[in-house]
Symmetry: C2
Subunit: 254 residues, 2 copies
DNA sequence: CCTGTTGGGTTGTATATACAGGCTAGACCA
DNA sequence: TGGTCTAGCCTGTATATACAACCCAACAGG
């Protein structure tokens, strides 16, 4: 039922389509609220909501008294929305594959128990994976999953892991926290990623949540020379309302 | 003129205050739209806008038919909003100081000219700084500022840099892009940060914008073992509307 | 030529009203 | 006792209307 889409959302999509197709370029003028009222037969409040949300999301800039203009906020940064390594690789036109190095059931301890909000000793399913981009090893993933969320893990053969980055039975990334740190890789990671000795490693520590509970805890190792991690930072009080400050500095727990 | 604050914003602040004071705990019920209409004497649309924006910003969760509830989204992550190293250090109760190692005028080349959207050869003011936390060197900053935005830089003595992380005459961070990569530090950085050989370095590449134009380009070097960079990732299609996915993986330009 | 005014267009906010649809507790019935 | 139904509350959306503040260009007067 496509009619279920709210009209303000249809308006937003209409304008986003014009921007992403290039019909509207950065700094171009976007139809005013009253123009949308006439052309799209909506009330001014509906047009207002559509344009305001597009402003909040960084697509356009609104200036009281002048009008609404396409923002170059998004084009300033060529950040891509990357949900997982497989999508990122696909976006580059390359092929993704992965292989399971180890699978076992373990008991949660220390950092992992804490991250998953469970007691020490809770059953955890552990996977060690390598992801390939065009058959070049590009990421070593160390994934810990709450066994209660993946009860059939040990029975299955994970010779090929689902490329979208989640195990069978686990919902795709709905929400995730990530932290990055620079470390020197251990022997195994260096071997699998074919890294030079002395080359630093960028480790993404990712925790995913399902229905309000943490269910996976992963360490994603990348060759530091090949990848970087980027984000966007908008301090509070800046013109854009959603608090989308994103990249932050924190002291490591000692 | 404090009366200039819109009523929907006053409503939002009122509820945020209750949440941050602890009067409202996660999963507690937030007054419904109609209750706010009565108690705060606003129209239902105004109450709706306040609650909807609080939902978009992750403070509350709304369920049609049941009500509005305090979210634990923010308490899940202990991320801090960090605008600059000085604020971060102050937040920990430590004292920040910094020292200028070098100051000079240079000409923009390559990466810096591109980042600042200027032609090769444009005048650039360059600073090399060390930041200290309780007199422990903790960050080496390599800052490039458009000379046209800081015309009096060379005349001044920057023996102590303004701790808020900006030069005299430059507005504080209004908007910034950051990228992170793991590298091995060069001799100077290693020396100033008192790092071990072989210890990786986490480099934040930061570009700040003022009035829509990039004005500074910095490299912030941290000892990889002491700091980490964290962010929050919310994939598109997730319940919260603002596209605040923030931490992303990108291939380095080769 | 310069300056001050004014009018029309634009966004920002606020209200009153209306209907649709989800959810739940309690009434009601078998 | 147990299942079903409904009234009432809640959010989600949409419209019509109103006023304030802002911006800019056109115009009038010195």
């Amino acid at each position: 039922m496509s009619a279920a889409k709210p009209r303000y959302q249809e308006l937003k999509d209409f304008i986003i389509a014009k921007i992403s197709s290039g019909e509207l370029q950065p700094a171009d003028r976007v139809p005013s609220e009253n123009e949308l009222v006439e052309s799209k037969r909506v009330s001014r409040m509906t047009a207002n909501r559509a344009l305001r949300e597009l402003n909040d999301e960084g697509y356009v800039e609104r200036v009281a008294g002048r009008g609404t203009f396409v923002s170059d906020y998004r084009s300033r940064s060529d950040l891509l929305e990357v949900q997982n390594i497989a999508e990122e690789i696909a976006r580059r036109g390359n092929t993704h594959s992965s292989r399971v190095l180890r699978q076992s059931q373990q008991h949660a301890r220390g950092e992992i128990a804490k991250a998953l909000h469970v007691d020490q000793g809770t059953a955890i399913f552990h996977l060690l994976l390598v992801h390939f981009e065009n058959n070049v090893p590009i990421q070593v993933e160390d994934r810990h999953v709450l066994a209660s969320f993946a009860p059939d893990c040990l029975e299955q053969d994970f010779d090929v892991v689902t490329p979208s980055g989640y195990l069978t039975g686990i919902a795709p990334l709905q929400e995730a926290e990530q932290a990055v740190r620079a470390v020197m890789p251990n022997e195994a990671v260096r071997k699998y990623l074919e890294m030079d000795t002395g080359e630093a490693c960028l480790v993404v520590i990712r925790r995913t949540w399902t229905k309000g509970r943490p269910v996976t805890f992963s360490r994603l190792h990348h060759p530091g020379s090949r990848y970087e991690l980027t984000g966007h930072y908008t301090p509070p009080g800046s013109p854009r309302t959603p608090s989308s400050h994103v990249v932050q500095l924190e002291k490591l727990r000692q």
